[in-house]
């Protein structure tokens, strides 16, 4: 079992519905976000192109945040999901600085928080909140080990990239280009 996500940068309209759905589903405190939309403009007028990316924790296979956690609050559960156990986190910030994607933030309660792939929903067989809510259906979620899953299929048929591959973290969010 290896959970992964594919983000279709061609279909994304940058509405930030995923961000809001995540905040609502996971009780993210006001002013914070576990995911965010990046808008990158390339070229010069009138030859412009914009890439829209819905970004979140990459649930890396080689996760530097889990490696450097002093108490084991950052850990990996079945399916390769990287989680933070809030009750064990001392808030030292080592994981925040070690994440090349800046996917983590310091919760007002002092511990560190991040995307969980909505593990509580995935366990029940549902999709993460961001995937469920996306109006253009540009987010695909599923098991990479299962060739019939949506994410496996879409990665097989489309060109994709991952973010900062040179960091060697082996990220599990694929951006379809």
């Amino acid at each position: 079992m290896r959970y992964a996500m594919a983000v279709d940068t061609k279909k994304c309209v940058g509405c930030s519905d995923c961000v809001v759905a995540c905040q609502a589903e996971n009780n993210v405190p006001h002013g914070y976000a576990r995911e965010w939309v990046v808008e990158l403009v390339e070229g010069s007028y009138p030859n412009l192109e914009m890439e829209l990316r819905s970004e979140r924790c990459n649930h890396c296979d080689n996760a530097p945040c889990v490696r450097c956690c002093p108490t084991g609050a950052s850990h990996i559960v079945e399916g390769g999901i990287v989680l933070v156990e809030h009750n064990k986190c001392i808030g030292c910030g080592a994981c925040i600085t070690s994440c090349p994607y800046d996917a983590r933030y310091s919760h007002p309660e002092g511990y560190v928080d991040k995307c969980t792939f909505c593990e509580h929903l995935v366990k029940e067989g549902e999709d993460p909140a961001c995937v469920a809510v996306c109006p253009t259906k540009c987010l695909y979620f599923g098991d990479l080990d299962d060739p019939r899953s949506e994410v496996s299929k879409v990665i097989k048929n489309r060109k994709y990239k991952t973010l900062i591959p040179e960091a060697g973290t082996d990220p599990q969010i694929f951006f379809l280009t």
Binding site: T71, I96, Y105, V112
Partner: protein, 462 residues
């Protein structure tokens, strides 16, 4: 009178004069009480800021998503760095056999103990959940550099304390019998801490052996403490931190700030404690030379650290270096590098600049530069992540420490000053027995030279 009798009297005279000089400042006079009162009030004011942080969380600091390690961590690195001087002076120079370090070794040890002790507290102020500090020991994972750091800082503190305390034993026994106008409880403290020291040969033998073991043990520990601190940064994949020379780079930088701290402390003790005949101009000359040496080595690592990525200018390194060299950190960067390292290094090459007053003034610049340097290492890197920062409040882009944060940092500096003050006003700052021993050697040498001359005359007569 026979030879041993003469020797004994000479020895007693030396110890008498040395101990009266060195023990003179060991008293709780008015200036001490005023100074401690001032520090105490300032500390309480600054600790109030910490109660705000405890109540509201780290949101009262300038730390946000992108810059999550700020002034606290920079200050922590500076403290750890400055504490390393204890090892350099007592262990490295001591084991090589330089005897000139004897009067200043304890000053270096005081600085080591004070800075190492407070460094541990500083890191707690940076934690989001300080109440969970014990979790480090309950759930500690050996994979984490944070745990390595906690382990070596504690070990170094313990070794430094022992290295401060053990050479103090004979002095405490001397102080106990010679100090007259001090409160009774202090005499009791001396008695307890001197562990029934009676100056017997056997005791000295054990003392020398244990100090030697400690001196050897502290070298790898000190190397470990600052190398591990550098690894907190170097193990992450971020431009500016992702460097293999961070260990030696930090270590040599540590010696620079520590040496400067010892020169400043020496200047203070020399003038305020009237120890001019013990902390001599020659000591300043030698320490300033040491400062030049460590600065040159540090300068070499600086060139490595900036020239190599500056030559390649890889995409993200380029953004980082641009901010340092000509961007909004440029003023800080160049003033730190020039005023805090290069110019002091050149100035101290001149003999005139190695006299006590100029050396102390230059050291103030060096130590201020050393603090800013840690700031420059810790903060700018986090402001330039790999992915673009978008749609966040303006203050997230650039880190600016808040007043609360500054007050808490100030509290740590005040604590260091308090520890140094208390240690230097309750215990002698210069080792009495070691200085007396050195003087004895000089006297013995002189008398033996005389003896030789007499013999020589005799032989001519014959």
């Amino acid at each position: 009178m026979n030879n041993t009798g003469q020797k004994y009297i000479a020895r007693k005279e030396i110890i008498d004069s040395v101990s009266s000089d060195i023990l003179r400042p060991v008293r709780q006079n008015r200036s001490f009480i005023l100074w401690m009162g001032f520090l105490g009030i300032a500390l309480i004011a600054c600790l109030y800021a910490y109660t705000i942080q405890l109540r509201e969380g780290l949101i009262v600091t300038g730390l946000r998503d992108f810059v999550s390690w700020g002034m606290y961590i920079a200050n922590f690195v500076f403290f750890v760095a400055t504490s390393l001087i204890g090892m350099l002076i007592s262990a490295v120079l001591g084991l090589i056999g330089y005897s000139w370090i004897k009067p200043i070794a304890r000053i270096a040890e005081i600085i080591a103990v004070a800075f190492a002790a407070v460094a541990g507290l500083v890191i707690i102020s940076d934690m989001g959940r300080p109440d969970r500090f014990p979790y480090l020991f309950m759930y500690g994972r050996i994979h984490s550099p944070i745990l390595w750091d906690v382990t070596v800082v504690t070990t170094y503190l313990v070794l430094s304390l022992l290295l401060y305390l053990l050479p103090l034993l004979p002095d405490l026994a001397i102080a106990k019998s010679r100090l007259k106008n001090v409160p009774g409880w202090l005499i009791k403290v001396y008695e307890i801490l001197s562990f029934k020291w009676v100056h017997s040969n056997e005791q000295y033998k054990i003392l020398f052996r244990s100090i030697r073991i400690l001196l050897i043990l502290i070298i790898p520990t000190a190397f470990a403490i600052h190398t591990v601190t550098s690894w907190l940064f170097a193990v992450t994949h971020r431009s500016g931190w992702n460097s293999t020379i961070f260990g030696p780079y930090f270590l040599t930088g540590a010696f620079v700030s520590g040496t400067a701290a010892v020169i400043i402390a020496m200047f203070f003790y020399r003038n305020n404690f009237k120890l001019k005949s013990y902390i001599t101009a020659d000591h300043f000359d030698k320490m300033a030379k040491l400062l030049v040496l460590v600065s040159v080595v540090y300068f070499y690592f600086n060139i490595n650290e900036f020239l190599v990525p500056g030559y390649k200018l890889e995409k993200f390194d380029a953004i980082h270096l641009e901010a340092l060299f000509s961007g909004h950190h440029a003023l800080l960067f160049w003033s730190t590098q020039l005023l805090g390292l290069v110019i002091p290094m050149i100035l101290l090459l001149f003999r005139k600049m190695r006299k006590p007053l100029p050396a102390a003034i230059i050291s103030v610049f060096v130590i201020a530069g050393a603090w800013m340097k840690r700031y420059i290492i810790v903060i700018p890197t986090q402001e330039h992540p790999f992915l673009p920062i978008q749609h966040v409040p303006g203050e997230w882009f650039v880190y600016k420490p808040t007043l609360t944060e500054t007050a808490i940092t100030l509290a740590s500096v005040i604590l260091v000053l308090m520890i140094i003050t208390i240690l230097s006003k309750t215990f002698p700052v210069v080792s009495i027995w070691e200085v007396a021993e050195e003087k004895e050697k000089v006297v013995a040498k002189e008398s033996s030279n005389q003896g030789y001359d007499n013999n020589g005359e005799k032989s001519i007569n014959n």
